[in-house]
Symmetry: C2
Subunit: 303 residues, 2 copies
């Protein structure tokens, strides 16, 4: 069974881990790169790394970086006159230096990601949605546009957001294999990631939303639990952008794309909502460990 999954970082990555644990699933993960940035002049791809580390079972407890990483570089860098709010562990930095070196040598981000997946022994295909630089920026009333990492990491996603844009997306072609993976998929899964911040930049790349709209079957997984995300600013951002609260907002974030939306048992009463053609399905969606991930993935696929 072929599955294409759209994913941001933590929540989406955990769902992918469940999907890849199913023997007969051929998984292609299409990953957000709107969070990419040059940090200390080095190209970081936080969502790709979180997906790869999580699929390898090596993810850090905070949901990003590697577990038990050391901090020799950062502990010295912070003595220099430079902002060091973006913390990156030594082994995590090695991943980014590999990427930086290869991009500088002319590789595409796809090629880097494929090589990186092989180093971590992954079975699934991990594709950046595009090889070209797109940068998510959020608009903060009274402040203007902030780069994603400034908003999310430095400002800890506290400022209110009333608009969002994906700089560079107009000229960004989908990476090789992205459209085909969606078209060939028996099921397209939209992971439990922040819809505006993590999934919209994927859908904004030319041809992706159309391919998802024409896919055989599209199943979304809500990132909300009782109307709120486990962490991160999904509810605040959705509200700031004028989307309805809760399950209705998730449906509204993906207009015309979903055949089915899986919501958590905490939101069970939402099955009464009028969400048009979208079928709402209640499952325990909290992914506390690998077994929970596999269980959710199996149920998602109707096993």
């Amino acid at each position: 069974m072929k599955v294409a999954a759209l994913s941001g970082g933590v929540g989406g990555a955990r769902m992918l881990r469940g999907l890849t644990a199913l023997d007969d699933v051929e998984l292609t993960a299409i990953v957000n790169v709107g969070d990419d940035d040059l940090i200390y002049g080095v190209h970081v791809s936080p969502d790709i790394d979180t997906v790869i580390y999580t699929l390898a079972g090596l993810e850090g407890a905070a949901g990003w970086g590697l577990a038990d990483d050391s901090n020799a570089v950062m502990s010295v860098l912070e003595k220099f006159p430079i902002d060091t709010w973006f913390r990156i562990g030594d082994r995590d930095l090695a991943t980014s230096l590999f990427r930086q070196a290869r991009l500088h040598a002319g590789w595409t981000l796809s090629q880097v990601t494929t090589a990186q997946s092989a180093v971590f022994g992954l079975r699934a295909s991990i594709l950046p949605v595009t090889d070209e630089p797109i940068r998510t920026e959020v608009h903060v009333p009274g402040e203007g546009w902030l780069p994603f990492q400034s908003y999310f990491v430095d400002r800890q996603h506290r400022p209110p957001v009333d608009d969002i844009r994906f700089s560079g997306v107009e000229s960004a072609a989908p990476a090789p294999g992205v459209i085909a993976a969606i078209q060939d998929a028996d099921v397209v899964v939209i992971g439990p990631s922040n819809p505006p911040l993590s999934i919209w930049p994927i859908l904004a790349v030319e041809g992706v939303a159309d391919a998802v709209g024409s896919a055989k079957r599209v199943v979304g997984v809500s990132p909300l639990f009782g109307g709120r995300p486990l962490k991160g600013p999904a509810d605040n951002v959705m509200q700031g952008l004028g989307l309805p609260a809760g399950t209705a907002g998730i449906v509204a974030a993906y207009p015309g794309l979903l055949d089915e939306l899986v919501i958590d048992t905490m939101d069970e009463s939402d099955v009464e909502l009028d969400v048009g053609e979208v079928q709402l399905r209640v499952l325990p969606t909290r992914i506390s460990d690998g077994a929970a991930a596999t269980d959710l993935a199996a149920k998602l696929l109707g096993r």
Copy 2:
């Protein structure tokens, strides 16, 4: 007393350490940047770093990098499909990430170097000879032009060299303060560095050789001991470029620039050479520790 010193890495750096130990010396070090390169896509400045680490007393035993550095990043990076012949320790990498970040943010290499010197608590002014990228390349018969680091580190300076060039030097202006430091100096010292590989790229920058030629007094220090360098390929490179062997070759490498050349006691018999107007002076030039560095520096300046 104002001293301007032209320096490459190890040998030159050790001499600078002696000069900066003299209370009444106001030292400006003008440092080679022809060895600079993008390593793993990050700007490294090996000679600047060696000078700064050495002046801070923190240099690695090999003559580059920091003493007792850890290798968390490299030990992971080498698992990726990438050449890792350029080894860089974790703390040394922090220096390069600071530089990379600041260059990317629009700082000049001079500005980076000044900030870096402050972090390491240096008293001397450390100036890159130019803020613009110049790249030393060596020509290997039958192979063509090699970037400096490929030749020096990857190939361990084993290939024969029959030509040398400094890519980009035609359009490289001297960094702010470089020409003035030479003009204002009571003594210009050309350190015991490899003349073609480390000092020529400094002299090749517009206006530098002219300023040195017009300086009040120019004292060179030979990097040779019995006609050979302590390490590195100075003798082989000089031979390959058609320069005479030994002391005569050092004099020939700096035509019209030297008032005096200090040679080691191992080359004492060379004082009989006909080297035109250049005064040859014999001193113990082996810099085994800080005391030897200070002693040599004092004697250099006629104390």
